[in-house]
Symmetry: D2
């Protein structure tokens, strides 16, 4: 086997564990006698003139980088290069320039760490440019198919659970219903896991339609049991029951901010007479120090990605299945969106414990 | 000294360390051979028929209660009993009923754990009813005068600092300006301490008028230095620069939610062209497990409060000053509102490090 | 289905997540309209006269008990009741008294939360007494077969990883080799997972023979790469290379304390000339607040255990397999001791990253 | 004022907050238009040929370095340069070479971050070489006089308190007496603060003679009160009651390891019949991420140290007193060793809560 030179980039929303994955790739690559090129700010770095990248060496990771959130390479989620939103408002196909950028790196293969959106774009770029691509799945939403877990999810759930641990005492002290709005895009994974482990009474996820009446009935039941507070977890992508739009308009402008958490807070207060408070957890779910599970996953994924390149297996995404790191076709992973399994152990456990999904 | 019976209540917004204070009172009282009566839900418990309270014993605290946020006694911030907002919309003086409630407890003295608002009310009730009152200061806002610190502040700052630790990597990964809105009511103490220790570039507090232009200039300076992200901490009570109202109106109703964080996010994005994100930290600042400092303070305060009763010193608030627990007149503490000292070491340190207050 | 009454006990070394499991059992049982009897201090409670137990109600768990380490029921690891070490030095079969104790509870079935040692005993007691037994696996060692994970393991690894996060900066500041001795009994699971995610250079586990020479060679390699510190994780049950006894004798008595960590510290210092320090992590691995994963596992296990009773399936242990809660025969689980899989993803990942197992 | 060039070094045992202090110095110096030279590995770096140092720039600190334990400059505690223990066993005065090293840096002044031992040496070197010295106090032991607190103490107490939080549930589950041995050298500050806030029943510190009988009496009292466990905190420097030597001898050699925690564990087990366990917390007290308090202190100290240089005030140590950063003569600080104040609020609070000091 000849000495290789490989590229690596992180793409899409950041999450915890990216640096551990980058480290694993660089360490593994170095042990094989290869060179690793880190592309800066995802594909955005390749649009710059000259393309922005730097050689990554194992010693960079001697300190605590693997223990840090974020990505030392930077990332981008600013648009599809095949239809890129330009500053002047126009839309332009910049894919050619990115392909050129990849080629200028002079690498044998590229490891892309991203979510399904990034993978769809990277795959198209790889096809267009004949680039050897291997994918590592990361997303706090855990919605990538064909893998049990993706980098970042475990940490996001930990942070969300910790928030419930902190909201419970203040809820109990003030006889309140506390609503925690968590991330997760169109999948309710964070909400389900954090909700069960954080002692929620109600968990609302995009996969399960709900009504405010059912939530209120559950709150009432909790109070009738003698408990003076309740905890609700809601996924950010949960819609209003009848699809009514939530709009929060600044008095002095057009910009809007609307959150399902604040909507529910209002409706539940009206409907139950309880004092409610809402916490929108936000970006702390992304930037925290990765849990050991995210670091393990990232380490196994990084090693496997390099080994796939060694074996000449491209167009593959590394994945976790039944205690093992495996690889699957990237297109299969993209196709196999993973939502919450309504018949799976977690949802069934929640229901068996009397947790309401508002349905 | 004869055996005494003392009452204890928590009042106002909850915070971390209340249980450690209650524990200290109960342990100290028990060691003196006294009995401690815990009043439920602050003065609200005394409005119930019959008044709600229970005897507290040291063994209740054998487990981890001192390590928990919140208050096992419950608390209330639902209104001034001298002008209580009744369910029917009227306002009524219920102070007489509360005084009767206190008397029914048959206690020699009452320890009130609260902030300045609660103290003002408790003092008036004590005067009206001839009740022997001792105060223990608690507030995450740290705005109570005559004491260096109050229970709950240290934990709130810890949580806010941790949030900045978590926002920094995600800000850096995405080249963003991250805005963290913290609690603190009309005082900027949490923002100043968390801002300095969390590496903020800009700290906005109610005590210092600011302009968006100054903030933007600081952001520009940061970027010119080669750094791609910035962190801003803003106190919840900070107003818009010209006092314009921030209103966020639900499209389907009249309820409003408005936050200075979201306002600034919009203005700074416009003014700097940077991508901004805002995190409103909320109630996790209250309910977290108390730091060791809050537990130390709570323990020293609890012991001192009981000892003041032993010495027959009433109308006093325990306080922390120059490494010692002392006591001051409650009315002096109420009068001596503590805002951020603009000439103090913290603000001067921040300025000397180039942190902008937007002024 | 008639109303049932079930018993529950925790047995063996405590760990994080036991209270979450007890809570799940009580909540599930209550939702079915059943009654749950908590046996105090494991089988030890049944040896007392009268047997010690109490009815458990859902409201007990309203607060933060599910978030706490330890077990509110107490536990015991003081001896096999079939050959119980009596105070006078004799050995006695007390199994009959325990069986009587179980019968006195008048329960339809008993849920035992324990490790393989406890299960072996409980199974024998169940056979002797005709008791309907269901097992929930818990052990920080993760050595119970037929289940991917047991309650307590995830938290123990988290604490061990956090320790490495804390040792790395001090190791780097002082150019030291830091040795962390972790728990795990005869299995190296904690060491492997914490070692990879905590950035260890060497991981020593009972499953892999090692030599000090190999460790020293790795340390030398690390230094040659330009790094000034190294991290080593060692399982408590790792033996000296040639089986020589480690004895640390008090100068004033016979009691001994001997740890592989201290042994290695000395040998590695001699062999490499490096300054070494050792940290024996100890019981903080057991008593910490459970991670969300341990709470999820505990919740799923608790629900499943009750449902097995509902279905009349006894002699079963609940287990986790491929994202699902399942059940297996207790005797199969006991027989299928789970040691570290030397060909599994974790060990292979570690080796691929250049981590040495000293072999 | 002309542009200056200043040196900075860290010396002695590392602790949390050093990087925050270095950052503050570099930021402040840079804002004044000065240059900062970081000396590597304390005075040890100056013994190398050529002397080891590097220019420090603000951008190095853009990431999370201020949030990390340890010191990016490295440190040394390997010996007094006036009587340096050479590899060949001889002792040599190397002070001249260090002074030359300082001069070669061509700096206007040097900021030394250290404890009293380091300050004594640095002061002597400064006198010998005519170096302008300013000191910043750091030590987890908090034993430096003339300042309320030193960098690193707050974090060490936090970690020790967290350990007690984790030991309590496992102690309660197993009816055990848990002994936690904490650092602190000859001063009991960590033990006192962690002991009170962590709910210890007994706190043993070098400042207070104790007997095992008194400890046992306290344990008995705890058990008589109905509690089944007890927590003991002991400072590492606590001696055996009659000064008898604790020796733990390896069976195969002369190296010794002896800890007061293990000694007490044995004695208390014998004397009370309780099951005891000991945890020696070790270096995790040093390397943890600094608390916000340590970062605040470090920031204020760093700024003040630079400002002292600006004002031409040398031979001073920055200090914290009554909510302000001040400066004192280094020799006064060295002379004013700070042990636990037996009449201070903390010890009095502990006693008032029934905590035993074994006396």
């Amino acid at each position: 086997m000849t000495k290789k030179r490989i590229g690596i980039l992180t793409s899409g929303g950041d999450c915890a564990g990216l640096n551990a994955a980058i480290r694993a790739v660089v360490h593994r690559s170095d042990l094989l006698g290869w060179e690793t090129v880190g592309i800066i700010d995802g594909t955005a770095g390749l649009l710059r003139d000259p393309p922005e990248y730097r050689i990554l060496t194992p010693n960079e990771f001697d300190g605590n980088i693997m223990r840090m959130g974020g990505t030392i390479l930077g990332t981008t989620n600013k648009g599809n290069p095949f239809a890129f939103p330009m500053a002047d408002g126009s839309v332009k196909d910049l894919s050619g320039r990115i392909v050129e950028g990849f080629k200028a790196l002079n690498v044998d293969a590229v490891i892309g760490i991203g979510g399904d959106g990034s993978f769809a774009i990277l795959k198209k770029l790889a096809q267009k440019g004949g680039i050897n691509l291997v994918g590592i799945p990361k997303t706090i939403d855990n919605d990538i198919g064909m893998t049990e877990s993706s980098i970042g999810f475990d940490t996001a759930v930990s942070v969300a659970t910790e928030a419930l641990d902190r909201l419970q005492p203040t809820a109990a002290s003030h006889d309140r219903v506390m609503i925690l709005e968590v991330m997760g895009r169109d999948a309710g994974h964070i909400a389900v896991s954090a909700g069960i482990s954080g002692g929620a009474d109600v968990i609302l996820i995009p996969e399960i339609p709900y009504s405010v009446e059912h939530i209120s009935a559950k709150i009432k039941q909790v109070k009738d049991s003698g408990r003076n507070f309740a905890l609700i977890v809601v996924s950010e992508a949960v819609k209003t029951p009848k699809g009514e739009k939530i709009e929060l308009t600044y008095s002095d402008g057009e910009k809007r901010y609307g959150g399902i958490g604040h909507y529910l807070s209002q409706r539940i207060a009206e409907s139950t007479g309880s004092e409610t408070r809402v916490t929108v957890l936000g970006h702390v779910q992304r930037g925290s120090s990765p849990t050991y599970n995210d670091r393990l996953l990232a380490s196994a994924f990084g090693v496997k990605a390099v080994d796939l390149i060694k074996e000449g297996k491209f167009g593959r995404m590394v994945a976790w299945s039944n205690r093992q790191v495996i690889d699957v076709a990237i297109e299969d992973a993209i196709a196999a969106y993973q939502e919450v399994d309504l018949n799976g152990t977690l949802v069934q456990t929640a229901r068996a414990l009397g947790i309401s999904f508002g349905d």
